[in-house]
């Protein structure tokens, strides 16, 4: 019993950064903008979150982490929506920028290039069965139905989706395409920044360079795997989180070499992907820059 509870708790902890970023990815891709810079937004989130918490406490830390993610997202939006730069190129550039700027600023503020001092996180909340849990974990799972509601039932969500499906039609009907694309991208930056801050403040209580370990890309995969829907993304994130925490618990033996244990999350993912044959349906105008034709 203890083993199972612990496995679930650990899965949830590993799921949350992927889930938060994955939901962010849903917002941006539904608005028709591919955001491969999510990893970078997590990185700046983890750094700025630690910086804010170090000087002003965890609440400011979270605010700064989310703002940093959004600031990076704003650059992506300006480049890829307003100036119609290739979205992949812009995203890759942002990842490099995030990495370099975090190292530079860490050197400036902490006098250490790769780590911060210890920082404080939020006070944990008590949850039946699981015990002390970070409030961000709870928040992440509340965000799933919330996002589904926004996308399906609100004017904002429906317009956001229409912009991703057929921007020309939306524009003709008087929807401000650019505004909604900006909103989608900024929301993704906010959530990725939150995910990064969760890692540094809640999980380890310290910023370490590269602590995101590619989770931003895994979140993108989870979002695609989840068929661009919030619930799908949640299940996919849970699968990734569960597989990872399971790999911690498979003990090395003479039968299974160590390297194979570390492959479990990826093998499981491949197996599920290959097993669940489902048509994936991205938004029709995903990744295509929108240009108003002038005649």
């Amino acid at each position: 019993m203890d083993f199972i509870v612990e496995l679930i708790a650990s899965s949830l902890r590993m799921t949350v950064p992927i889930l938060l970023t994955g939901i962010g990815a849903v917002y941006t891709e539904r608005a028709g903008v591919v955001n491969i810079g999510l990893e970078g937004m997590m990185i700046v989130g983890s750094f700025w979150g630690a910086l804010g918490s170090f000087y002003f406490g965890p609440y400011v830390g979270f605010l700064m982490g989310m703002s940093a993610g959004m600031a990076l997202a704003l650059i992506h939006a300006v480049a890829s929506v307003t100036f119609r730069v290739n979205q992949i190129v812009s995203g890759v550039a942002l990842n490099i920028l995030a990495f370099g700027s975090s190292r530079f600023l860490s050197q400036v503020f902490f006098k250490m290039a790769t780590t911060s001092p210890h920082v404080k996180g939020l006070r944990p909340v008590k949850i039946p069965v699981l015990g002390d849990t970070s409030p961000i974990i709870v928040l992440a799972f509340i965000l799933v139905p919330f996002t589904a509601f926004i996308l399906e039932k609100t004017v904002f969500g429906l317009r956001l989706k229409s912009v991703g499906e057929n921007p020309l039609a939306a524009d003709t009907l008087g929807v401000n395409v650019f505004k909604f694309k900006y909103a989608g991208v900024l929301l993704s930056g906010l959530l990725a920044g939150l995910a990064g801050t969760y890692l540094s403040l809640e999980h380890t209580g310290m910023y370490v360079e590269g602590m995101t370990q590619g989770k931003g890309f895994i979140a993108l995969a989870a979002m695609i795997f989840g068929n661009w829907t919030p619930y799908g993304t949640m299940w996919a994130s849970l699968l990734f989180g569960f597989a990872e925490s399971l790999s911690f618990r498979v003990v090395e033996s003479n039968v299974i070499p160590y390297q194979f244990i570390k492959m479990i999350p990826y093998l499981l993912t491949l197996a599920v992907l290959a097993g669940v044959v489902r048509k994936s349906t991205p938004p029709a105008a995903d990744g295509i820059p929108y240009e108003r034709e002038m005649h």
Partner: protein, 367 residues
């Protein structure tokens, strides 16, 4: 249209100028550097150091190397000039950084970590007049006249002591080990630790995990914490880590579970958060600082020798930490640990340094 072309031309020309400016700049410093160096050489020794993955601030391995550099700087004051660099996150530019320091006329250059082995081998050949110190690495066929000295540690001996301490202090009869990257170097820690524990209590159970198979395993506190939590939850009450910056997560887990962690390389009680200190039983000290400092000292005094230097218990190159935070925790077992230490130094206990030697050691115990 013409305007556009004009702008394009201006941009192209200015870019070209930048390129040339870049070239010119590159050529300038070395000539400047050499004159400076010639002028200063009689008094100033230039010491360079390149950190391993994790970098300064890992509160562990790299910080220990930095402490040695600091000590030398303090002691020799204006007779030396030090500079330290950190490789990129993946460590791809290790060789570049070594070469950069060598080209800048640094006299003694350290590579902190076994990952520098191949790079130092190469760069040392290109710069025969520059001396190198390689920590944890091993390059074959060196002798006194080589320009590389390999500074190695008997981590297994220090780990044996903290393993014994863990076994003496464990109430559940279960202890854990979290390693960073799965490589022979870290397996030395593991083998020594397990042997030390079994030496005290042959029935003790040891749970052992590694974080990963790449250099990233030394800076992944998220996984470090998860693995340690797993070990604590499955009954271990003391976990020893040898995982660089990932160990921050292990200590975090111990404090959260109100169990014990054993630090590594540096005295981690001193660098931990206030509220984590009561949960650090001790730390296995690997005196990288001593190795760095003594090599600099030798160099300044003209006694630098190439080849190999091994730091074990006998040389005080490894050991365990006693400080104001854990004094009360471990004071009752210090006599026992000192007794074991003496036996190791005298050679009465042969500490295993890998899996097969460990099996041998266990057989020896049973007899």
């Amino acid at each position: 249209m013409k305007l556009k072309k004009l702008i394009a031309l201006i941009v192209a020309v200015s870019m070209l100028l930048f390129v040339f400016a870049g070239c010119a700049k590159k050529e300038m410093p070395p000539s400047e550097g050499t004159t400076q160096q010639q002028a200063e050489k009689p008094k100033k020794v230039k010491v360079g150091l390149v950190f391993d993955v994790g970098g300064r601030g890992d509160l562990s391995f790299n910080d220990s190397a930095y402490a040695g550099l600091e000590r030398a700087e303090k002691e020799f004051g204006d007779r030396i000039e030090v500079k330290y660099l950190e490789p990129s996150a993946g460590g791809e530019n290790r060789e570049q950084l070594l070469r950069l320091l060598a080209e800048d006329g640094y006299d003694l250059i350290f590579g902190v970590g076994f990952m520098f082995t191949d790079h130092i081998r190469k760069v040392a050949q290109e710069f025969p007049d520059t001396k190198f110190g390689l920590i944890d690495g091993y390059i074959e066929d060196l002798n006194e006249n080589s320009n590389v000295v390999c500074l190695q540690f008997k981590e297994e001996e220090g780990s044996f002591l903290v393993g014994s301490a863990a076994a003496l202090k464990s109430k559940t009869g279960k202890i854990g080990f979290v390693g960073g990257m799965k490589i022979p170097l870290i397996e030395k820690f593991e083998a020594g630790y397990m042997a030390g524990a079994k030496y005290i209590n042959p029935d003790i159970e040891i749970i052992s995990d590694y974080i990963g198979t790449t250099g990233d395993a030394f800076k992944d506190p998220v996984k470090g914490k998860e693995l340690a939590l797993k070990q604590f939850k499955s009954g271990a009450d003391i976990v020893y880590h040898a995982s660089g910056a990932s160990g921050i997560g292990v200590i975090e887990a111990a404090a959260a579970q109100k169990k014990f962690a054993i630090g590594v390389d540096s005295d981690q009680s001193l660098t931990a958060k206030e509220d984590q200190r009561p949960y650090i039983l001790t730390s296995m000290l690997k005196r990288v600082d001593v190795a760095v400092y003594s090599t600099i000292k030798d160099f300044i005094e003209g006694n630098y020798k190439g080849g190999y230097k091994v730091f074990g218990l006998a040389e005080d190159g490894v050991g365990y930490a006693v400080n104001q935070y854990n004094k009360d925790l471990i004071s009752d077992i210090i006599p026992k640990l000192d007794e074991i230490k003496e036996k190791i130094v005298k050679g009465e206990i042969k500490v295993p340094a890998d899996k097969s030697e460990y099996e041998e050691f266990l057989k020896g115990l049973k007899k």
